[in-house]
């Protein structure tokens, strides 16, 4: 059942600030979702009203700068002790709001939790916050520092674990700050946020920090519904450092400014850009090699383009620059292609070397000589660096530190660099506008673009940021628009008496998908005279009309005629327009059957089989329509009845589908099916009370708990030694896939087979219980043997250099997997303890100990 819909108050705040320095208003939108029948207990004189929060009391934290309106409103919401969602650009200053919440908790002797999506981000945030406050702790899967501190930085997973286990700490928490809440849309991990938010006790209020998002209001309503408390939304698209967006056509010569720093779209430049692209298209049409060779093409010519751009940026002193590409391999390739460039002075080089050596000092002698580390130094010294998730964590953090110190001038990064910590550059370059998201190559979303382009422009250092997009050919064909050059006679049937209007439609493809067509319409005389903005309407029959140019949205035009009328070049004089009207009238006389329609196949020579098909279909349908007996009968009443019937039928359909789709019903069914699975596997008994097996499964949350408990209870682990256990268990940890053929030695192949069999059995049981699951896909997805061999050797004592030779998976990914594997093994150990099987418990402990060594578990530089 839906809970009563919250009332929404909405308002917009404009605060014209310092008109002399900046023309743009620092606008911010404040909304609040309030549960119905909610009455606030706050004192209005001190805190303002729900829809207009103001705070006049003592501030918990004094800022050295004047707060932006959005910060002020957010803080007032905080002081009202109400949840708030702050949605703003990265550099706008969301952290100030978070810091205020922390300061407030310190003042009130309460605890506060700060969650971030990634371990690395938590580390960075911990470092940042411990500079600002003195009582800060950190909890991630790897490290725990001062777990009793008043302000705890942790990953969202840890918070969820605390909620499930009912940690006593939560009794003292007043605020939870969710950073980067837009992570919630993540396909795999989003559920962690959802669960954490749902299970938070209602006394704990939340602060959500998010990059700009479109459905902020919806989100607030959701919070309001589940926690029965008001939730504010403060949204601003204010950007402290304005951005200039340039486009660089691949293989082209120059940059085109498409959006200037006043956020004006420069159409003239855009047209010029299109021009060059069309020209290039013509050129490439001659030597049409392979239609979709966009990717391969950018590999050869694109690199040199990047070289050109980077060089130009350096010449114009636009550094530091971040160059985003969407593949880790591409990133490295680009960086390698910069070998000829050197951006650092001798002093800077020395500084880099010093930082580098102190950073790798935490590694063993042997690990320091790893190619991944050794090869990095010369690159770093020249002020060039790579940053992506596949790097060794040490290198990644080193690059981040050097970048913050300004010792890196050109950073080649993937998307991951755009999240979280404030690491802006002056310039941001996109090497592509398409990315591979696991399923398909798609254009990056506006949100992603905003997030990444937001890295451009350092607050306080640069006057503006620069954002360069490299567009390759395919994009242009799509965006440049079709060749709309043919003349069309627009036949506007919606206004039947004045069927006319003709004009080579100047199509202005606005930024969205709505095309606007300028049409000449026969309009009533009077309409244009009363008031400044006449509403065009057709003249009544017999009345005299006048021709006017009216912009019309494309869908409003019902059909096109194949006739073309020559239109005078200057339409401003009334006579010129009137002459067209006459011409159209003349035409109507000549074609008493009605004006012939434009046939896409015959008249325009379109040969696309899809279109031809469509046209034939339309013709057929029209024929059917005309031949229908009702077409001739003019009995209005009858028609109305039919219409009514159709409507009712439609309504029935809709209600039915609503009923089926009703989320709750669906959830209930699924819950029933799922508990049936649990019953069948013996996790819970017939009354739904958790049994021993279920208790063991409860202790595991890193991997597939059903599968692993099944393995455990079937004794698969009993025959294995602890190296094999580590290798087998690594199949549960999600990670990168490898294309390489996996050849396993005998001692691993057999357990793997058992694992796959178990997975299949579980999938089949789930299938029996009517859960939507494909058996093979489940087996495929839940068993990932790509790093089995690697982990096996590592556990047996191989060195890291040897281990990375065995696979094509990135080092960083291996390390991430190993760390999660350790976490998983610890959970298994706890599960074995709960069951009472000491042998197994010892085996898991030994497995965990055998992988915990060396560079894989080296400490973060941030700590």
């Amino acid at each position: 059942m839906m809970v009563e819909s919250p009332i929404l108050g909405k308002r917009k705040l404009d605060n014209e600030e310092n008109e002399t320095t900046t023309k743009r208003a620092r606008t911010c939108v404040h909304e609040v979702a309030v549960p119905s029948n909610y009455t606030s207990t706050n004192n209005e004189s001190l805190h303002g009203t729900l829809s207009n929060p103001i705070y006049n009391g003592q501030m918990a934290k004094i800022y050295p700068f004047k707060l932006d309106p959005f910060q002020e409103i957010s803080i007032s919401c905080l002081e009202r002790k109400e949840s708030v969602l702050v949605s703003a650009h990265t550099s706008a200053g969301k952290t100030a709001v978070a810091e205020y919440a922390i300061a407030m908790s310190f003042r009130d002797k309460q605890r506060v939790i700060y969650t971030s999506p990634l371990k690395a981000l938590s580390n960075q945030k911990y470092r940042e916050l411990s500079h600002e406050f003195n009582d800060v702790g950190l909890m991630t899967g790897d490290v725990t520092i001062m777990p009793n501190a008043s302000c705890l930085v942790m990953t969202t997973e840890i918070l969820r674990g605390m909620l499930y286990r009912g940690s006593e700490l939560l009794k003292e928490v007043a605020w939870v700050i969710f950073d980067e809440i837009h992570y919630m849309k993540d396909r795999e991990r989003g559920v962690v946020w959802e669960e954490s938010i749902i299970f938070l006790p209602p006394e704990i209020k939340m602060v959500f920090l998010s990059a700009t998002m479109s459905n902020a209001t919806e989100f607030a309503q959701w919070i309001c519904n589940i926690h029965k408390q008001p939730c504010h939304v403060v949204y601003t698209d204010f950007r402290p450092t304005p951005l200039q967006h340039y486009v660089f056509p691949v293989g082209g010569v120059g940059l085109y400014l498409v959006v200037d720093d006043n956020e004006q779209f420069r159409e003239d430049n855009f047209l010029k850009l299109q021009d060059t692209l069309t020209k290039r298209k013509m050129g490439s049409a001659n030597g049409k090699a392979g239609g979709r060779s966009g990717k391969g093409g950018s590999g050869s010519s694109g690199v040199s383009d990047i070289y050109k751009i980077v060089k130009m940026i350096m010449e114009r002193k636009f550094q530091p620059v971040i160059i985003f590409s969407f593949s880790r391999r591409e990133c490295e390739q680009h960086a390698m292609s910069m070998t000829k460039l050197d951006f650092n002075t001798e002093e800077e080089k020395e500084a880099v070397e010093q930082v580098f050596h102190s950073a790798v000092a935490c590694l063993t002698e042997e690990d320091r000589n790893l190619p991944a580390i050794e090869l990095m130094l010369p690159l770093l010294q020249r002020g060039i660096a790579v940053h992506h998730s596949g790097l060794l964590p040490v290198i990644k953090e080193l690059v981040e530190l050097l970048f913050q110190e300004g010792l890196i001038k050109a950073l080649f990064a993937t998307e991951t660099f755009a999240m979280g910590l404030n690491m802006p550059a002056k310039t941001v370059v996109f090497t592509s506008v398409k990315k591979f998201d696991g399923d398909s190559h798609r254009y990056i979303g506006s949100g992603e673009y905003i997030q990444m382009s937001g890295r451009a422009g350092r607050r306080g250092k640069d006057e503006g940021g620069i954002c360069i997009i490299m567009i390759n050919e395919q994009v242009n064909v799509r965006e440049g628009g079709k060749d709309w050059g043919w003349g069309v006679v627009v036949n506007v049937v919606k206004k039947p008496p004045a069927a006319l209007g003709s004009l080579p439609a100047a199509l202005s493809a606005s930024r969205g998908d709505g095309y606007i067509v300028d049409t000449l319409l026969h309009c009533s005389l009077g309409s244009s005279e009363n008031g400044s903005r006449p509403k065009p309407c057709p003249p009544r029959p017999g009345e005299k009309g006048e021709m006017h140019v009216v912009p019309v949205q494309l869908p409003l035009i019902s059909s096109l005629s194949k006739l073309r009328i020559s239109v005078p070049s200057d339409l401003r004089p009334l006579e010129a327009r009137q002459s067209i009207f006459l011409a159209v009238q003349e035409l109507e006389k000549r074609f008493p059957e009605g004006l012939p329609k434009l046939n896409p196949v015959k008249d325009m020579g379109i040969e696309d089989p899809e279109v031809v098909d469509m046209v034939n279909q339309i013709e057929e349908l029209e024929k059917k329509l005309f031949s229908h007996p009702l077409q001739k009968s003019q009995n209005e009443h009858q028609l109305k009845c039919f219409q009514r019937k159709a409507e009712v039928n439609h309504e029935i359909q809709q209600l039915k589908s609503k009923m089926c789709d009703s989320q709750l019903q669906k959830f209930r069914d699924e819950l029933r099916n799922r508990s049936q699975v649990l019953k069948k596997l013996g996790h819970i008994d017939a009354d739904g009370v958790v049994q021993l097996k279920g208790r063991a499964a409860c202790l595991i949350d890193t991997g597939d708990e059903l599968l692993v408990t099944e393995l455990m209870f079937n004794g698969t682990f009993n025959d294995l030694n602890h190296h094999q256990v580590a290798a087998l268990v690594s199949c549960f940890i999600p990670g990168d896939r490898s294309e390489e053929q996996i050849q396993l030695r005998y001692e691993l192949a057999k357990p793997l087979q058992q694992l796959q069999d178990s997975a299949r059995r579980i999938a089949e049981i789930q299938h029996e219980c009517k859960l939507e699951i494909k058996v093979d896909e489940y087996v495929e997805a839940s068993v990932r043997p790509f790093l089995m061999d690697v982990i096996y050797c590592w556990s047996m004592g191989a060195s890291f250099a040897e281990v990375i030779q065995m696979t094509d998976i990135f080092e960083g990914s291996i390390i991430r997997l190993a760390r999660r594997l350790d976490e998983f093994l610890n959970q298994l150990k706890a599960a074995a303890h709960a069951v009472g099987e000491t042998d197994l418990e010892n085996k898991f402990r030994a497995a965990s100990d055998s992988i915990r060594r060396g560079i894989m578990f080296a400490n973060s530089l941030y700590l």
């Binding site: 009130d108 002797k109 309460q110 605890r111 008043s150 286990r165 009912g166 006593e168 700490l169 009794k171 003292e172 928490v173 007043a174 006394e203 704990i204 013996g682 009354d687 739904g688 009370v689 958790v690 049994q691 021993l692 097996k693 208790r695 409860c698 099944e710 455990m712 209870f713 079937n714 004794g715 698969t716 009993n718 025959d719 069951v835 009472g836 099987e837 042998d839 197994l840």
Partner: protein, 322 residues
């Protein structure tokens, strides 16, 4: 009949024996073991769980109980043992000590349980760090020999058992009676809190064998409200009626009698070693009412026999139905 210390007349004895005879389990007697019994294990790959010991060739039991098997795991579920806590259990306990930042509770476990001040909801219900003042005021919350209801939170690293009282439904229990029965007679179920509306009585089955029968108190917790609704749909109307009445400073005689009647019903049940659950207790109470027995008469031999007979009949009908 083991624990019953009553003087039965000859006929009563016969009837009771007959009833218990029909109740005695016909389950595979091989499943029950005593200490040092060998447990038959088919393969080497078996997992040896609680209550078992691997003696090289064979697996032996270390406790008396019933052998349970889950897939390849073998373990012995002990009978008539002390309470063994599991995370999430709802327990009733008695405060035995107020210590720094914590209370110690007797819960029929091999050690005392600990309830930290920080895992308590403070009376004002706000979220804040516990201060020294709160610590000094601990006695205003619970003192020695108070009866408390709480939830098992888990074992600390040092092996001590920690409790928590994380919502309003937990906390001090007043105006009622605490019963101690063997913990194995209480089965873990979804619902351990019961509100018997027709008697105005709350009944809490602690998993540790401590059972609380007391006057009904209104809880201001949305979560509990929901669960009450689920377990007994007709409750809701009158529950709110009760709450709207003026503040009562004493427990009415009638309610007291009901409390005792229910408590006696449970005593009889545990004396007969029957599993205690809501349905059985309610049935017994109804039986006593229909027989027009006084509260004290419930503890006499005749009622024990009647209850045993009723139980025997109930089970035979239910098995027949199967």
């Amino acid at each position: 009949m083991r624990g019953i210390q009553l003087s039965f007349s000859n006929t009563q004895k016969l009837r009771l024996e007959k009833a218990l005879e029909s109740l005695s389990s016909k389950v595979n007697p091989n499943a029950t073991v005593i200490v040092a019994d060998t447990i038959p294990v088919d393969e080497d790959a078996a997992l040896k769980g609680h209550g078992t010991l691997d003696m090289g060739k064979n697996v032996v039991a270390t406790v008396c109980g019933v052998v349970e098997r889950v897939n390849k795991l073998v373990y012995v579920r002990s009978l008539r043992a002390r309470y063994k806590p599991e995370i999430g259990d709802i327990i009733v306990g008695r405060v035995i000590e107020v210590a720094p930042k914590r209370w110690r509770l007797e819960i029929n476990f091999s050690q005392d349980a600990v309830l930290m001040l920080s895992s308590m909801n403070l009376p004002d219900g706000i979220q804040r760090r516990r201060t020294a003042v709160d610590e000094l005021n601990m006695r205003s919350i619970f003192v020695e020999s108070d009866v408390i209801c709480a939830e098992v939170r888990g074992f600390q690293h040092d092996g001590s058992l920690h409790l928590q009282a994380r919502s309003q439904k937990y906390g001090k229990l007043e105006r009622g009676k605490l019963l101690k029965i063997p913990p194995y007679l209480v089965k873990r179920r979804k619902q351990h809190f019961h509100h018997l509306d027709q008697y105005g009585v709350d009944l809490i089955f602690g998993c540790n064998g401590f059972i609380w029968v007391g006057e009904h108190v209104e809880v201001k917790d949305a979560m509990v409200e929901d669960q009450v609704n689920k377990s007994d749909p007709q409750n809701t109307n009158s529950a709110s009626l009760l709450g709207s009445g003026e503040e009562q400073t004493y427990t009415p005689l009638e309610t007291r009698q009901y409390i005792c009647r229910i408590a006696n019903a449970i005593t009889v049940f545990s004396a007969l070693c029957f599993m205690v659950n809501l349905e059985a207790v309610m049935e017994t109470v109804t039986l006593s009412l229909s027989l027009n027995l006084g509260v004290h008469e419930m503890l006499e031999a005749e009622f024990h026999v009647r209850v045993a007979e009723q139980e025997a009949e109930r089970r035979s009908t239910s098995t027949r139905r199967k």
